[in-house]
């Protein structure tokens, strides 16, 4: 008995079933895109308020008014929470994973389409919960995005009661949503690949989504348990994190960072997948070291589980633990350097086309090298003890995550926009957007390292209250102005996105002359993705094959054609 495991459902006709409660992975990806763009704008607004508060601590923020220290605490908490959990994760994992995995492996949809719909609606519920937390009495969570107890464990410490409870609930729902998504990704790739699509013919993006899904799945469990314990401490009178009842505040830090560090790679790896795919297409060359990159990413994923205490060097941890955690942390730079060198080697000698997605991909690589190098400093305990909790760490963190989420994610969005919406984006506006973003990024986060070395600590509403920070005021103002331009230049992107959506040039099925299966179907793909499930004959990166008539060989082109072309 041959069993049919493809979840095929004929295209629904009603508006609600088609665009709102859809089980189609492509529609779900766009729903995630809309939600993450909403949160991106929200998070950008919090960044604007934070920066102006730091530039002119005693004046009103232009366009907003006076920011009190309590509001400032809530702002930094919401900024971190939103950007990591409600922008980076949905954008890099849910949008690209949902849209591309079934298309790239030649499937009609995810293995569990209804579970997929559930995951986006659970994420929607998480978004509503987080929004609601802003409006409850006492205001939103303000214990930092890391939520360290005992500050977060008792309402009287921050003055925030239900705001923080809802924050925990929103995160729990968000985790549940991405666990469902990860299970779906893994099952889809394991069970629904097209004929001939072996694991080592999968595009980099699919591999990276899989590794990210596994890393997320293993790391988030203890934090889910930890979040439930934190909630119980707040509402049920338990004492997991409260020393007076025999609890241990450090326990939360361990549970949080056991998740928090792998989480960085959960975000980074899909961005690497995007960058490698884009670089290969626009340098018309195969990805350098396809299998070694996969192995290196697996090693990095594994190592990410044994580095968490490098966030806790000054938390009262046994000092003898600092050295082993320094060693494992710095060891992680080996597999990541390998991936970075592979990216450079992919570009090396290629016929590079600097399209907008390629600019963002190359920009992402540059920014990541920048952020990765300071990571080696931070990982080493003797240095970290000096710069801990300063703006040096903030600058480092933003350099790595902005390279992934912002530059990597936008490279992907510019690249797959034609496939998603059937129209091309405007290249000129795209390039202006890139250069403004890239230049402002360097002007914001380069000098921010100096703030940290100057001793400016994070999460203070008014640096001017300390004499030794007063000389940093001009630098703070400079960074704020650059950050404002950075935020404003995103308007170009929004305009380009909206206008291209409505009246962009119609996209051909394969506008970039790429090899992977998503380009073998129409733009945008029909409801069932493919007229006929393609057969796969080769790996995803056969560009500039010697002797071939074209400089690209799609994965689904039969060998006979290739042979004819070679002759």
């Amino acid at each position: 008995m041959s069993r049919d495991f493809h979840s095929v459902h004929s295209e629904p006709s009603g508006f609600l079933r088609r665009y709102v409660f859809s089980t189609d992975h492509k529609v779900i990806a766009k729903q995630y895109l809309a939600l993450s763009m909403f949160w991106g704008l929200f998070g950008g607004a919090t960044a604007y308020l934070i920066r102006w508060q730091l530039a002119r601590p005693e004046a009103e923020v232009p366009g907003w008014g006076y920011v009190s220290p309590d509001v400032y605490n809530a702002l930094v908490t919401m900024h971190g929470t939103i950007m990591v959990f409600f922008v980076a994760m949905p954008f890099l994992l849910a949008v690209f994973g949902n849209f591309l995995i079934p298309l790239m492996i030649g499937a009609r949809d995810m293995a569990f389409p209804r579970l997929n719909m559930l995951s986006v609606w659970v994420f929607f519920l998480a978004s509503v919960t987080l929004l609601a937390s802003i409006f409850v009495p006492g205001g939103p969570a303000s214990a930092g995005w890391t939520g360290y107890p005992p500050l977060s464990a008792k309402p009287e410490y921050t003055g925030v009661d239900w705001g923080l409870n809802l924050w925990i609930l929103a995160l729990a729902l968000e985790f549940a949503s991405f666990l469902l998504g990860g299970i779906n990704f893994l099952t889809t790739v394991m069970n629904l690949r097209a004929p001939g699509m072996t694991f080592f013919r999968l595009p980099m993006l699919v591999w990276m989504q899989l590794i990210a899904a596994v890393v997320f799945m293993i790391s988030v469990g203890p934090l889910i348990a930890g979040a439930v314990m934190l909630l119980l401490d707040r509402i049920a009178g338990t004492t997991f994190y409260l020393p007076e009842g025999g609890g241990e505040p450090l326990l939360w830090q361990h549970l949080f960072w056991f998740f928090g560090h792998p989480e960085v790679y959960v975000i980074l790896l899909p961005a690497f997948g995007i960058i490698l795919d884009v670089m290969s297409v626009f340098s018309r060359k195969p990805v350098f070291g396809y299998r070694p990159i996969i192995y290196a990413s697996l090693v990095a994923g594994f190592l990410s589980f044994v580095v968490w205490a490098h966030h806790q060097y000054i938390s009262g941890l046994d000092p003898r633990l600092a050295m082993p955690f320094s060693v494992t942390t710095i060891l992680i730079s080996v597999p990541f350097s390998f991936v970075v060198f592979s990216m450079i080697a992919t570009l090396w000698g290629g016929s590079i086309q600097f399209t907008t997605p390629m600019l963002f991909a190359v920009g992402s690589l540059g920014v990541f090298i920048f952020g990765g190098l300071t990571g080696i400093f931070n990982g080493s305990a003797p240095f970290d003890i000096y710069i801990h909790d300063t703006y040096f760490v903030v600058a480092h963190f933003h350099s790595t995550l902005i390279s992934a989420v912002f530059f990597g994610g936008l490279a992907g969005l510019y690249f797959w926009f034609p496939k998603m919406f059937g129209r091309m984006m405007n290249e000129t506006l795209g390039k202006i957007h890139f250069w403004l973003t890239f230049a402002c990024f360097i002007l914001v986060f380069g000098p921010m390292h100096l703030l940290g070395l100057g001793g400016m600590m994070r999460r203070i509403a008014n640096p001017l209250q300390y004499d030794f920070l007063k000389p940093l005021e001009p630098l703070n103002l400079f960074i704020t102005i650059a950050a404002t331009v950075l935020i404003l230049s995103q308007v170009i992107f929004v305009v380009n996105f909206v206008v291209s959506l409505v009246r962009g040039k119609a996209a051909a099925s394969n506008p970039w002359k790429a090899n992977t299966l998503e380009w073998a179907t129409a733009s945008p793909p029909p409801h069932e993705n493919f007229e006929k499930i393609p057969s796969v004959y080769r790996g995803p990166y056969e560009y500039s094959v010697p002797g071939a008539s074209d400089d690209w060989l799609p994965q689904d082109r039969p060998l006979a054609d290739a042979g004819a072309a070679a002759r």
Binding site: R3, S10, A111, L179, L192, G221, A225, L255
Partner: protein, 193 residues
């Protein structure tokens, strides 16, 4: 319309997606309990007074519950074997037994909780009790989910609809075994140490 000509999957005898998905689901559940258990072990090793608190637990209830769960793991395997042999009458019998054993576990757990709360050992009574209620409570929630899953299959079996998807008994069984295995860890850690 659904096209059927190209629907044959790559691997003919592939595992059903439901089974693959459930294995990954279990993989994601292990760290949840793992994190809780590791926190419990580390904090317990580092502080005194936990053994005294633990001595107030009702060992007999826990022992009976262990027997109930282990037996239910056996009955669900027998339900799976019956479903595989397509004797759905027998499958419904064993599924029903599994549901009853699971419900018995929850009933005894409720008795145990009420006794402890009556003696003042609430979740707020100290760090041991915090952990006790969090760990057994999370496990009890999983038992509840398992009972609902098994009950759904039992209803299908009774109404003669199980023939359409007999492999679901195996998937439910995998989950039920996981719930059982978690208890095998919790029982010695909480009641025997």
């Amino acid at each position: 319309m659904v096209k059927t000509d190209v629907m044959t999957p790559f691997v003919e005898a592939a595992t059903p997606p439901g089974k693959t998905g459930l294995w990954w689901f279990l993989a994601s559940e292990i760290p949840v309990f793992g994190g809780l258990i590791a926190s419990y072990v580390v904090l317990r090793l580092g502080s005194s007074g936990w053994a005294e608190a633990a001595s107030h637990l009702n060992f007999s209830y826990a022992l009976i519950n262990t027997f109930l769960l282990l037996t239910s793991s056996m009955t669900i395997v027998m339900a799976h074997a019956a479903a595989r042999d397509r004797s759905f009458g027998r499958a419904s019998l064993f599924l029903g037994a599994t549901v009853l054993l699971g419900a018995g576990f929850l009933g005894i757990k409720a008795l145990e909780y009420s006794g402890e709360i009556a003696h003042g050992f609430t979740p707020a009574a100290g760090i041991f009790w915090s952990f006790y209620y969090a760990m057994t409570g999370l496990h009890a929630l999983h038992v509840l989910v398992g009972i609902v899953a098994n009950l759904t299959l039992w209803i299908d079996a009774v109404r003669g609809r199980l023939a359409r998807h007999p492999h679901r008994v195996e998937v439910a069984g995998l989950y039920w075994h996981f719930v059982d295995i978690v208890w095998i860890f919790l029982f010695p850690l909480i009641y025997l140490s």
